[in-house]
């Protein structure tokens, strides 16, 4: 393989790790309470704006922006759960879709109103410049983003599978009524799930902001990327989201390299539709 192709694939993998990170939040909520958060991409967008505000206020990069964005978004997640999601979950389908969709509009245009429609960005070398490894050029910001995203996604998987909290959440996902009889509060567990799911989007947003432009409508594209990742990886599966995220990152990079940058979204959306139409349980899901 030519070095340039390797570089494209490595770039795709690093981006894909970030996709996997915020998609794992979507898949967690989906798997646990069977509700789709149409505002998920806009949560990531808010994380990006938090990173921008942190930089303008303190002049500090993602080291400080990540924890702050995670906290802000986790708080938002809890508020959204108690104020909106808890009641629409029991409502009709139209209410479920309208609820989070309305939230998406609200967040997107609140950002538009507050920050304006201009493309904002963090300084290019906020994490460091680019460096060469065996003839492959890698941006430090993308490397950091990929590495942190892999770590956090892995940590989330461990949290869900190896800890008591994870077992409790799994119990609520299986059967809230039975879990309640065992002394687990479904409300609390679901609120924690929303906090985690929104918190990881905050981290992802702070990471993406180091190498991507910040604009209110960026959440629309990222939201669809999350849907694609989750549908590809199987609904409710964090490892599935990881594999699918990496795969989509590579597919996107390769199609941008081979066909042209404008067509990369077309490729990803078509892929998404094919999956929904022909294999709705995902790559690794059971039929």
């Amino acid at each position: 393989m030519s070095p340039i192709l390797v570089q494209v694939i490595v770039g795709g993998l690093l981006l894909g790790a970030v996709y996997a990170l915020f998609s794992s939040g979507l898949t967690l909520i989906w798997g646990m309470m069977n509700i789709v958060n149409f505002a998920h991409g806009d949560f990531v967008m808010l994380g990006m704006y938090v990173a921008f505000v942190v930089w303008t206020l303190f002049g500090v990069g993602p080291v400080l922006a990540m924890p702050i964005a995670a906290l802000v978004l986790a708080t938002l997640g809890i508020v959204v759960y108690f104020a909106l999601v808890r009641s629409i979950m029991k409502g009709p389908m139209l209410a479920q879709i309208l609820g989070t969709f309305g939230l998406a509009l609200l967040l997107r245009y609140a950002a538009f109103w507050w920050f304006g429609a201009n493309f904002l960005s963090l300084p290019e070398n906020i994490v460091g410049g680019t460096f060469d490894v065996w003839g492959i050029r890698i941006q430090a910001s993308r490397l950091l983003a990929g590495a942190v995203a892999l770590l956090v996604t892995g940590g989330l998987h461990l949290l869900l599978t190896r800890t008591q909290l994870g077992s409790k959440m799994l119990a609520v996902a299986e059967d809230p009524a039975a879990a309640q009889l065992m002394g687990i509060r479904p409300d609390t567990m679901q609120a924690i799930a929303w906090a985690i799911a929104a918190g990881v989007t905050g981290i992802a947003g702070a990471l993406i902001a180091t190498f991507f432009y910040i604009v209110p409508t960026v959440g629309e594209t990222l939201g669809i990327v999350a849907f694609v990742t989750v549908s590809l990886g199987g609904f409710g599966s964090v490892p599935g989201a990881l594999v699918a995220g990496l795969l989509i990152g590579v597919i996107e990079s390769l199609s941008a390299y081979w066909i042209g940058a404008v067509y990369k979204d077309i490729v990803v959306y078509s892929l998404f539709l094919c999956f929904l139409w022909f294999r709705p349980q995902g790559l690794m899901g059971k039929s």
Binding site: A95, P216, W277
Partner: protein, 330 residues
């Protein structure tokens, strides 16, 4: 009988509106309310009656808009010719997209329709024949009456009123037909409807196609009135969202729900844009979003359902509280 009386009064008011409120702003506002009411009523067939929440209806809207401008730009024909072209194109697209997509239920259907809409927008944005990012324009100077290019909003108002009446008539006829009963059964429980022998897939597809055709008429009329279409005004996801929220605010699955929703939201948007200028665009959609969240949270049935319930309660003041609380007392 009383329904007929109310309907005639409403119709008379609708016909008299542009004569009573005759400034250009008010006439334009009236025309826009009717236009969005047409689109939202078309959405209502599949989103309200059938309960399939499509967020991709802008594709059909765009079909109509691009057909109306396309026949002028490429063949110098009247945009009117584009209406049947748009209907044929959108019914064909809805059939092709509908067969695999309507098998999905609930959230999955909504997600798939978003992806279809974004896909179509991206493809059109990169297609030179359809004007790419710039879009297509209609006649700058009307050559004859059939170009439907008027300075005043008055002719558009009556044209849209006629089309809205036709749309509502079709919806009303459909709702009372066998198909309407099937659709409501499918909305309440598709599995139960199937097990009782309702041909769910076929009926949903018919509803989707009918809805698509009517939506494209709204798109064609929109493009004709504004004289141009580009990917943002013809295929932006916000147009789907407007159809959806107007129907839901008024009452999804009710004949006059979309009209009520349009009559509230279109003036809200126009007036706030007028007052706040460019800065208002963002704020308007913040309000839109907040309204959607509030409807979903507190009143998923929409305003008309709420009014009906209050009305029913008021009609029986002598009922004991316990019975009134049981709501469905005969």
């Amino acid at each position: 009988m009383r329904r007929l009386l109310w309907s005639s009064v409403a119709l008379a008011l609708a016909i008299a509106y542009p004569l009573l409120f005759s400034t250009p702003f008010q006439q334009r506002l009236g025309a826009l309310v009717l236009l969005y009411a047409i689109a939202a009523s078309a959405w209502n067939i599949v989103g309200g009656y059938a309960g399939q929440v499509s967020v991709g209806h802008v594709v059909f809207f765009g079909c109509g808009a691009y057909a109306a401008m396309g026949v002028y730009a490429h063949f110098a024909l009247s945009p009117l010719v584009g209406i049947p072209v748009g209907i044929i194109a959108s019914v064909a697209i809805s059939a092709v997209v509908g067969v695999p997509t309507l098998r999905l239920s609930g959230h999955y259907f909504s997600m798939a329709t978003i992806a279809v809409a974004e896909l179509v927008r991206l493809i059109v944005t990169n297609t030179d024949y359809l004007g790419a990012g710039v879009g297509l324009s209609g006649p700058t100077v009307p050559r004859n009456l059939f170009d439907l290019s008027f300075i005043s909003a008055l002719p558009y108002y009556y044209l849209f009123l006629a089309v809205l009446l036709a749309t509502l008539g079709i919806t009303w006829w459909m709702a009372g037909s066998r198909m309407g009963f099937y659709l409501r059964a499918i909305r309440d429980s598709e599995r139960a409807a199937r097990s009782l022998g309702a041909p769910a897939s076929r009926i949903k597809l018919y509803a989707f196609m009918l809805s698509a055709g009517l939506t494209s008429v709204a798109g064609a009329l929109y493009a004709t009135m504004f004289g141009f279409v580009d990917p943002e005004s013809g295929l932006g996801i916000l147009i789907s969202v407007k159809m959806l929220i107007m129907a839901a605010l008024g009452g999804a699955g009710l004949l006059f729900g979309p009209l009520v929703g349009a009559a509230i939201l279109v003036p809200l948007e126009e007036i706030s844009n007028n007052l706040l200028g460019g800065k208002g665009a963002g704020l308007t959609f913040v309000v839109y979003g907040a309204i959607i969240v509030l409807i979903a949270r507190f009143q998923p049935g929409g305003i008309l359902t709420l009014i009906k319930r209050v009305w029913a309660r008021r009609g029986r003041p002598a009922q004991p509280a316990a019975v009134a609380g049981a709501s469905h007392a005969p």
